[in-house]
């Protein structure tokens, strides 16, 4: 009996239809899947074609990149279509960075920036032991160090020559400005408002009536007024209430205002996270015999804060942009310093370039914050995320 061997060789599978594979397939699936979508795609392409080339021309192709005098932009305007005058930004960029900080002392600001970077680098190294503790310390240490470097420590009377030459002479806060001021305010605001916000959120959920009432009152009061009002109150009204001769540094007032304002918002964000933690977690912590602080610090807050990372970063980005409001109390933050440059008699008429530069800068900063928060979310993901 012979067994017929039947060989069974699978035929190679046919390639997918041309229209569903490769670039064409992708286009078809994503951009031209129906008549309506095709119409939208074409309309969008048309719009982009109308909008992008002029922007490209203005920002890059027709822009003036070399030179250092207004005339070079003015002449270029006559010969070309009139692109951006980026040499204006370059001429004033030092002012954008440091505001009114004395020119011969700007290295102190640079030094503060370098120190901040150096202290922050280990926070991002995974192998670093006690990274969280170190990170917290760095966040608190950096603004203190930076302020010290900004401020200096030899307070000379104005009539000695050192008051205008000494490398470590005091520079009062009114002269701080530009990007360095924006970063300092944002740093202090972010570093100080999160702990305050957490305490407020816990206080608001407290069963002790006075604590909870105080926290509710504080949060509602600060959420109920616009930040611009807070700034204005702190700079214009407060001095009238203080006794004659008692001064209270304007920057400090602004910092306190920004911090408390942002803390009130963060408190509500954190409270949202606390409410998302199932009751069982609290009870389990109690069952283990953990005290209130321990159960919060070890069980509840780590989970709650992780859930609300997007909300917290949202608040931080808001705070970062809100720092521009210090302009109304006569301080020159980054945007204020740009506005200052726009009024430079040598560079009148290039305000658009200044503002575009500022917008790009703010975008880069806020976007990197949001990317970092996404990375953090991915790292801490334990299944809550969809």
């Amino acid at each position: 009996m012979s067994i017929a061997t039947v060989s069974f060789e699978p035929k190679p599978s046919l390639p997918p239809p041309v229209a569903t594979a490769g670039l064409l397939g992708w286009l078809r699936a994503n951009l031209f899947s129906s008549w309506l979508n095709a119409a939208f795609t074409l309309a969008t392409l048309y719009l982009l074609w109308r909008v992008l080339p002029p922007i490209f021309d203005w920002m890059i192709a027709e822009a003036v990149w070399v030179g250092d005098k207004t005339e070079e932009c003015k002449n270029a305007d006559e010969t070309r279509k009139g692109g951006a005058c980026w040499i204006y930004v370059r001429a004033r960029v030092s002012g954008f960075m440091y505001g009114l900080y004395p020119y011969d002392l700007r290295w102190r600001v640079d030094l503060a920036g370098a120190v901040a970077l150096a202290l922050m680098v280990p926070v991002f190294i995974k192998a670093m032991p006690y990274r969280a503790i170190y990170g917290l310390a760095a966040i608190l240490l950096v603004p203190a160090l930076a302020s010290l470097l900004f401020y200096g420590w030899y307070d000379f009377p104005p009539n000695v020559p050192e008051a205008q030459t000494h490398p470590w002479r005091v520079v009062e806060t009114a002269k701080w400005g530009g990007l360095s001021l924006t970063l300092l305010i944002a740093w202090v605001g972010i570093g100080a408002s999160l702990p305050i916000g957490v305490v407020l959120a816990l206080g608001r959920r407290s069963k002790m009536p006075i604590v909870s009432a105080l926290c509710v009152g504080f949060i509602e009061l600060w959420r109920g007024v616009p930040l611009i009002t807070v700034m204005f109150m702190s700079s214009v009204m407060l001095p009238l209430f203080l006794p004659e001769g008692v001064t209270f540094d304007k920057l400090l007032r602004a910092l306190i205002g920004v911090t408390l304002f942002s803390a009130a918002y963060l408190a509500e964000v954190v409270r949202g996270g606390l409410q998302a933690i199932p009751r069982g977690q609290f009870e389990a912590a109690s069952a283990l015999g953990l005290s209130y602080p321990k159960s919060m610090a070890l069980i509840v807050l780590p989970q709650a804060l992780k859930i609300v990372i997007p909300g917290i970063v949202n608040s931080f980005i808001g705070l970062f942009k809100d720092t521009t409001l210090v302009a109304i109390i006569g301080m020159y933050d980054f945007l204020g310093a740009v506005a200052l440059g726009n009024a430079d008699p040598k560079w009148l008429g290039y305000a658009v370039e200044g503002y575009v530069f500022a917008a790009l800068f703010y975008f880069v900063f806020c976007f990197s914050m949001s990317r970092y928060s996404l990375a953090l979310e991915r790292k801490l993901n334990t299944g809550h995320k969809r």
């Binding site: 002012g95 009114l100 009114a174 009238l240 109304i328 009024a343 430079d344 040598k346």
Partner: protein, 340 residues
């Protein structure tokens, strides 16, 4: 209880008012003790007060601050510039965060009386004017009937335009924006026929246009905007220092004393020059200053005309002719009482 609180309130009030009178005459002493003049300036106004990229302040109003520092200390660096917004400027001065405002502030009756300030002089006669396109062939603001006028919302500028057109029984249309740059952009893109603001701003704004030469500034001035430095009401000594620092600059121009020639002029036989430069009489002492107060001002800052030409004159981007700000001897309004 009620009476008690009344008494307490009365006592508090009395203490405050006493503190007020003691305080009032002390600004010069305070300034000398502090070693710095706190000068309230504009946050940034091209030609009047503006820091460069290195953070050094310059401008016509800034020169006023420097002149006072030169008079009091003989050192123009002894100024702490206090940038103020239009809104907070008066509180800053009132609260003592500034010793004076040199901040393009219009001298009005209510500010001089009710707000409790003293304007010590007029260092710049400003007034609202109009800019139009040359091809409209308009020679006077009276020909603007039916025009669309670009202006800033919520300013006296807007009210002045309304008054002007109503007085002359002309119809007009307002195109108003919040910010001056928006107003200018609207004018440049042809959304209105006329751009109006103070004449000190018009010339500077004209340079920002796409084709500045296609526009002219009409000769009409429709409002009075006398700008000058001001101090707190009641401190006359300090007010005198500011007033005479300004008058010294005007007198110096009239007498032909400049930054360059002030040292030679000090030896001039002209008694007026001798008195101004402290070679004769004790005029500095009368102000509570050194007798070379005016010499220092002119040496370190220059005379009125020099400051004008350097900051806002026709050779600067601001490009303002002297006009009514010329000396009275040249047909303008700048006139300083004599030093004697």
């Amino acid at each position: 209880m009620k009476h008690l609180s009344l008494v307490a309130a009365g006592a508090a009030l009395a203490m405050f008012s006493m503190a007020g009178t003691v305080e009032a005459q002390q600004t010069l002493a305070q300034v000398k003790q502090r070693g710095l003049i706190q000068c309230g300036v504009s946050q940034s106004l091209p030609g009047f007060a503006n820091p460069d990229a290195q953070g050094n302040w310059a401008g016509f109003d800034v020169d006023m601050c420097k002149a006072i520092a030169a008079a009091v200390f003989g050192d123009v660096k002894r100024v702490k510039y206090v940038p103020t917004t239009a809104r907070e400027r008066f509180t800053v001065l009132q609260a003592g965060d500034a010793d004076l405002l040199a901040r393009n502030t219009t001298w009005t009756m209510s500010r001089d009386t009710q707000l409790g300030f003293d304007f010590v002089g007029i260092n710049f006669y400003d007034g609202q004017g109009f800019m139009v396109r040359k091809d409209l062939n308009v020679k006077s603001a009276k020909q603007l009937a039916g025009a669309a006028v670009c202006t800033q919302t919520g300013t006296t500028t807007e009210l002045n335009v309304a008054d002007f057109f109503r007085t002359n029984k002309m119809a007009y249309k307002v195109v108003a924006f919040e910010k001056n740059d928006e107003v200018l952009a609207a004018y440049d893109s042809g959304r209105c026929d006329v751009f109006t603001t103070d004449r000190s701003g018009l010339a500077a704004d004209r340079t920002k246009l796409k084709d500045p030469n296609a526009h002219i500034i009409l000769p009409d001035v429709i409002s009075k905007e006398p700008l000058g430095p001001l101090v707190r009401h009641g401190d006359n000594n300090w007010g005198d220092v500011i007033r005479w620092a300004f008058f010294a600059m005007v007198n110096a121009e009239e007498l032909g004393i400049t930054q360059a020639n002030v040292d030679q002029m000090a030896n001039s036989p002209n008694p007026e020059i001798k008195r101004l430069l402290g070679k004769e009489g004790d005029f500095g002492k009368m102000l509570g200053l050194d007798n070379n107060w005016a010499h220092n001002i002119i040496k370190m800052v220059g005379n009125y005309g020099e400051s004008y030409e350097r900051n806002v004159g026709p050779k600067t981007p601001i490009g303002l002719e002297r006009g009514v700000n010329a000396l009275w001897t040249a047909g303008g309004l700048q006139y300083a009482p004599p030093v004697r």
